[in-house]
Every structure is written in C-alpha cells, then in structure tokens.
C-alpha cells in the first residue's frame, strides 16, 4: 500500500513539475520583444555562447582528430581510406556535432544558468525584481532562454566545422590521405539539406530542451545551498539523458525511415 502510494505521489510530483516548467516557459517567452530585452539577450549570448566557444572548439578539434585516426586504421584495411572525409564529416554533422555540443553545453552553460538563477532566488533577487514591478520571467528567464536556443546551434556548426578541419589535419597532413579525395568524396557524399540542415534542426531541438531544463531547475530550486547544488546536478543529468533519448528519436525520424 505504501509502495503504491509513493508511486502515485511521485507521478503527481512529476506531472506538477512538468506543468510548472511549461507555465514558466509560457510566461517567459510569450511577450512582446522589447529593445531592452534584445540587448539583454545579446549579453546572455555572450555568457552562454562566447564563453563556451573555447571548450567547444577544442573538443571539436580533438574529436575530429580522433575520428580520423580511428577511421583511417579501419578503412585502410579495405583500401578505402579515401572515404575518410565523408566518414568524419557525416558522423560530425549528423551525430557528434549536435550531441556532443549539447552535452558540453549542459555541463558548461546549463549548470551555470541553473546555479545563477537558483542563487538569484536564494538571495531574494527574483522576489526583489517582482516587488519592483519587473517580471523576473521576462527580465531574467526569457533572455537566457533565447540566448541558449540561438547560441547552441551556432556552437554545433562551429564544432562540426572545426572537427572536419581536425580530421583533415590528422588524416591528410599526418597520415597521408590524399587531400583531393578527402574533400571531393566528402562533397559527393554530404548533402546540404539532408545532413547539414538536419544536424542544425537536431541541435536546435537540443538547445530548447537543455536551456529549458537548466533555467527551470534554477527557477524551481529550493533556495538553499543544498537545493542549488542538487538542482545543478539534476540539470546536467536530466539534460544529458534528454539529449541522448531525443537524439535516438530524431535520428529515427530523419535518417531511419526513408
């Protein structure tokens, strides 16, 4: 009986959580954009985008290099090392670019968003805004949401591009794959609308989910130091799981069914 009760209790909790998250988002983004908010959003793009740039670029470079190294050792057995280009490009554009960017973003920017908003709540800054007749949803939440949604696909594009250059570095400059075949077979294989655009769409979906989780966990955090640390952990765990789960669904929809 107690066990059943706890199932019901947890289900209700989860449902009300979803409800609050949706209400928060609706309250934040359904508003007439103002000049002031655009400047706030630009500032937040700096915080979540520009400040994540270095880790994204370094990770992209290394992942591209590793993929070229691994791919080469396998492909060379079949004399197909010319296909290194498309292998690196397709894995980056379709999967690794959007997914790894989203995971890094959750760890780098998402956790910071949660902690920042949680601390604002704990130090009564959010209440204080409300008492100053400024809606914290529009002033604090909305710019951060839009900034995340805009910045992450940009980061994913940069990640993929750097990764392909990293693959070139290892594959062509180091292992001696022909530069012409690296690029030309890649060009013959990669399709703009199917591979590049689908990758951007994926990244956009991840951006919405990760940013949403991050700001909601901060906004809904229990305003104590323990509550905020818990919320920050949950942000990283939940967004990583959501990204990987959604990645499967999106891949099945985009590439699985022809």
């Amino acid at each position: 009986m107690n066990y059943l009760q706890s199932i019901g209790y947890n289900t209700l909790n989860a449902l009300t959580g979803f409800g609050r998250a949706l209400l928060m988002l609706v309250g934040a983004i359904i508003a007439v954009p103002q000049r002031k908010n655009i400047r706030l959003t630009v500032h937040q793009i700096y915080v979540v985008g520009v400040q994540s740039l270095l880790i994204i670029m370094v990770s992209g470079l290394f992942i591209g290099m590793v993929m070229a190294l691994q791919g080469y050792t396998i492909l060379v057995n079949y004399g197909a090392e010319g296909s290194l280009g498309p292998m690196v490009a397709l894995s980056l554009l379709r999967e690794l670019g959007p997914v790894v960017t989203a995971l890094l973003f959750a760890g780098r920017a998402g956790s910071a968003l949660t902690a920042e908003i949680g601390l604002m709540k704990a130090t009564e800054q959010l209440s204080s805004l409300e008492m100053m007749a400024v809606d914290p949803l529009r002033r604090i939440i909305a710019p951060r949401f839009w900034a995340g949604v805009i910045a992450m696909p940009m980061l994913a594009l940069i990640f993929s591009a750097i990764g392909i250059l990293g693959g070139h570095l290892v594959g062509v400059d180091w292992l001696g794959v022909d530069a012409g075949s690296y690029w030309s077979i890649m060009q013959a294989t990669v399709e703009w609308d199917k591979d590049v655009v689908n990758g951007i769409i994926k990244s956009f979906v991840f951006a919405v989910v990760v940013t949403w989780i991050a700001i909601f966990k901060g906004y809904d955090a229990i305003p104590t130091s323990e509550g905020i640390s818990q919320a920050t952990t949950q942000t990283v765990v939940y967004s990583s799981l959501a990204v990987l789960g959604l990645d499967f669904v999106l891949t099945a929809l985009m590439f699985g069914i022809n």
Partner: protein, 155 residues
C-alpha cells in the same frame, strides 16, 4: 555591463558561425557552387543504375565534368533515366559519346564514366536536353555470377 566589449565578442561569435556555415556549405556539402555554375542537361537511359545516386560525379578520364542531377523511372518502358548536369565549359562532346556506370575502387562510390565519341568530319555536338543512346549499365554482382556460371556450363 561592459556592453561594447560584449557586443563585439558576440559579433565575432556570429562571424565564426558564418565562417563555419560557409565551410560546410562550400567545402563539405559543395552547395551553391553547382547552382551558380553554368551547366546544361543531358539524359541517359540505363537498364540498371546499380548504386548510382543523385550528386554522383560524371567523369571524363577521371576529370569531373558534371554531376548526376536526378534519377527517375521512365513510365513507358520502365527503365531508369539519369539526368546529368554537365558544366557549360565542356560543351562540345560529340553525339557519339557513351556513358557507363563505374565504381571507384572495390567498395567506393559509383560514378558515371563519360566516354567522348570520335568526332567525324561533320560532328554533331550534344546540347541541352539531348539523350545519350550509348549506355553501359552498372555491373550487378548476381548477374556477373550468373553469366560466369552460364558460360562455364556452355563450355
């Protein structure tokens, strides 16, 4: 808020993204180049196109002169028709030219090998919309094995 510096850095971020997008568009997916390039269209009918795909290369002696634009099935005789988009700078192939579906390497991509025909005294040049009649289909492994067995039996 140190707004100016922030805005500058966000601007750099946008430029970086555009550069990445451009790299992906031009060097990786080769989008845009084909569109801006002047080209003309030829058609070729095959019995079997094997693994040929749109955007596969059309090569003359290893030099890429165009790409496969699209592939469709002729509704009258149910044979595949391949639409080739050939760069305008190679506009003097004689109408005796032939095309074949070839494979690069053992596991490589399939492409169209374009074999220009001999130009006689009064060459007729292939122009936009022409059909190439002399075609050689892709090799299908099962057919090859079948032929091999058949020819061995008959010996």
């Amino acid at each position: 808020m140190t707004t100016r510096k922030t805005e500058l850095l966000v601007g750099i971020f946008v430029v970086l993204t555009l550069a990445a997008g451009l790299l992906l568009a031009l060097n990786v997916a080769n989008q845009g180049m084909s569109g801006s390039d002047q080209s003309y269209t030829l058609y070729a009918k095959f019995d079997n196109i094997g693994g040929l795909k749109p955007r596969s290369a059309v090569k003359v002696g290893g030099v890429t002169v165009g790409r496969v634009e699209s592939i469709y099935l002729d509704q009258d005789d149910f044979t595949p028709v391949v639409v080739l988009s050939i760069s305008e700078q190679y506009n003097n192939f004689p109408d005796t030219s032939s095309v074949a579906i070839l494979t690069s390497g053992l596991l490589g991509e399939q492409y169209i090998g374009f074999q220009p025909g001999f130009a006689f005294d009064d060459p007729v040049v292939l122009t936009d919309g022409d059909f190439i009649s002399d075609t050689k289909s892709a090799l299908v492994l099962e057919d090859l094995i079948g032929q091999f067995l058949f020819s061995r039996d008959s010996n």
